[in-house]
Every structure is written in C-alpha cells, then in structure tokens.
Symmetry: C2
Subunit: 200 residues, 2 copies
C-alpha cells in the first residue's frame, strides 16, 4: 500500500456508508470507484485490492480512537474516573463516525484476519483498558481483576455493542444517554444496591 495522499483519503470516506450497508463482498470495486469519484485504476495504483481500501479506512479510524482513548486514559484522576472517560471517548467517536464504525463491526472477522488491523484494535482498545484496570486496582478505585485481559475484552464488547446496538436500532440518538447507561452498567453493575429498602 502506497502512502495515501490526504485528498484521496478524504474521498475514500465517502465509501463508508456503502461498505457499512452492504459489507465488502457485496460491494463491487466499481461501486467504490463511483461513490468516491476515484477511478478503479487509481484505486489499484494505491491499494492491492478492495480489502486494502477497507483496511485503510479501519486503520485511519482506529488511530483516531487510539489517540482519544490514550488521552482519556492518561489524564489525571482515579482509575475509575479515567475509565469513565475512556468509555465516554470511545462512544463519542463511534457516534461521530457511524459508517466506518458499522463497517468495522460488520466485517469484524475480516478485520481480525488482517494482522495490521488486529494490532490496531489492540492498540486502540485492549491495551489501554488493560493498563487502566491495573492502575484502578492499585489506587483502590476499581475492583482488582485476576484476569485483566479477559476483563478488557468484556468491557470492549459491552461498549462496542452498546454503541452499535443503538446505532442500528436507534431508539435514541442521545449519545450522553448511552454513555451514562454503559458507565452505570459497567461500573456499578446490574445488581440492585444492597441497601435497597424493602418497598413493602
């Protein structure tokens, strides 16, 4: 993959919607050429195939996420506070880039099979979470986990699916609402508070 000029990159984003709706395999490279305005021959000049076009979009988006998440994760505050910010950051970015995000989830399998993308997902999501859980346990604000990697996967899944679920069903488009929901579930848990007065 040749270095992609910014102007070209911008055009490629126009294919996001299409790819999210149809998936890569139901999308002809000619279609990508049409909606982006980039001729097929040019696409092949930069990318080895349509899969690489998708990979480029994913990678671009994931760097964005990794950046924001890293900022949130290394801000001052307790582990708990920062975990809240990380969830906040991830969900906000998802809602700002719904198309790429949907495409990413839709072709999750493919993404996992592309080594570079798998690494980027790890970099953007798992590693920071993993670190944060350890730090939160150290400062006493988070429950210590004996399997932080598994926990990170669980959290990532919860956040991602929550964002996606809402994006698809879209009962609400209120981001703040969703963020609060996810934070409440993940941090506070689903069990009712112990001291809940017997109402009868």
């Amino acid at each position: 993959m040749r270095p992609v000029p910014t102007q070209l990159a911008a055009k490629l984003y126009r294919a996001g919607e299409l790819l999210a709706d149809q998936g890569l395999d139901n999308t002809k490279i000619e279609e990508i050429a049409e909606v982006t305005g980039v001729p097929k021959a040019t696409l092949y000049y930069y990318f080895a195939g349509k899969e690489e076009v998708l990979a480029f979009l994913f990678h671009d988006f994931l760097s964005l996420v990794a950046g924001d998440v890293a900022v949130a994760a290394s801000a001052p505050g307790t582990g708990e506070e920062r975990l809240r910010s990380v969830i906040d950051a991830q969900l906000r970015l998802m809602f700002e880039h719904p198309a790429v995000c949907r495409a990413l989830i839709g072709d999750l399998g493919r993404a996992g099979r592309l080594p570079e993308i798998a690494a980027a997902i790890n970099e953007a999501f798992y590693a920071p979470l993993d670190r944060l859980l350890a730090e939160g346990a150290a400062d006493g604000s988070l429950r210590p986990m004996d399997d932080p990697v598994g926990a990170a996967a669980t959290i990532f899944g919860a956040v991602t699916m929550a964002g996606l679920g809402i994006m698809v069903t879209s009962t609400t488009n209120d981001v703040d609402h969703i963020i609060e929901l996810v934070q409440q579930i993940l941090l506070g848990g689903l069990t009712a508070p112990r001291r809940a007065a017997k109402k009868r």
Copy 2:
C-alpha cells in the same frame, strides 16, 4: 432452502472451522464441498448459494442457544439469579461450538443483513435479556434500567466478546473461570466496593 436432512446437516458442521478461519468470502464453495464431503451439485440442490449454507449453520446454532437461554431465563429464582444462569448458558454453548460461534461473530455483518438470522439473534439473546431485566427490577434483585433494550445490547456484547476474546487469545480455556469473570463484572460492576477499608 429445502428441508435439510439430518445426515446432511451433520456433514455441514465440518465446514465450521474453515468458515470461521477464512470467512465466507475467502472460502470457495468447492472447498466447502471438499471438507464436508458433500458435492457442490448437492449443495446447490439444497441451498441457493454459499451464503445460505452459512445461514443454515447460524440458524441451527442460534436455536440451540435460544432454547438453553429460555430455560435458564424462565427457571425459578430472582431476576439476578436467572441472569447469572443466562450468562452461564450462553458462554457454555459458545465454548461447546467454538467454530460456528467464531464464524458467527466474524460474519456478524452478514448475519445482520440476513433477516431470518437477525430475527434469530434477537430471539436467542436480546428478547430474553430484555424480559429478565424487567423482571429483576420488579423483584428488586436488579437495578431498574430506563433503557432495557440498550442494556440488553450492552450485556450481549459483554458476554459475547468475553467468550470470543478468550476463544481467540485463549490464555485460559477454563469456561467456569470466564463465566465467573463476566458475571462479576456485569452484576457487581467494576467499581471497588464502597466499604473497602483504607488499607493504609
């Protein structure tokens, strides 16, 4: 799609591994024919194409899940206890059918685009969770949610990704361990218990 004889169905499962590893689009229907021992012509006699083969496997697996989950969800006990059982049931089934399960996640986008499969996912996962959350809130064992649908998506994501994450990275293959982890996070939350004694 013609009614699929059981003997044929059994053979089809042999393609699970392949489909999980490569994804549907990187798998030639001839390959499916080879590993299953079912000739291409026969496959086309029963299915409209390779996508339908995949859909059959998904549907089969999802009915299984829906069954087990329904049992767990309608057992006696508080909402919290039953939620624990549901998580348990889902994760156990995932670990019993890793190939189909991986394929399902990998081709999640495609699955979502097949109406029948989308409905089956809903039936197997979302609807029971949704119901359970309401019942748990009613009996006081679970925190009331003002967006039960969003919550259901969050829980589904957490459970699924946890199972998947472990399945791929497989630091541990200890199912019970994972189940406990997910239950702990989702029910108890990540925040450290309030009464945590100041250790110093």
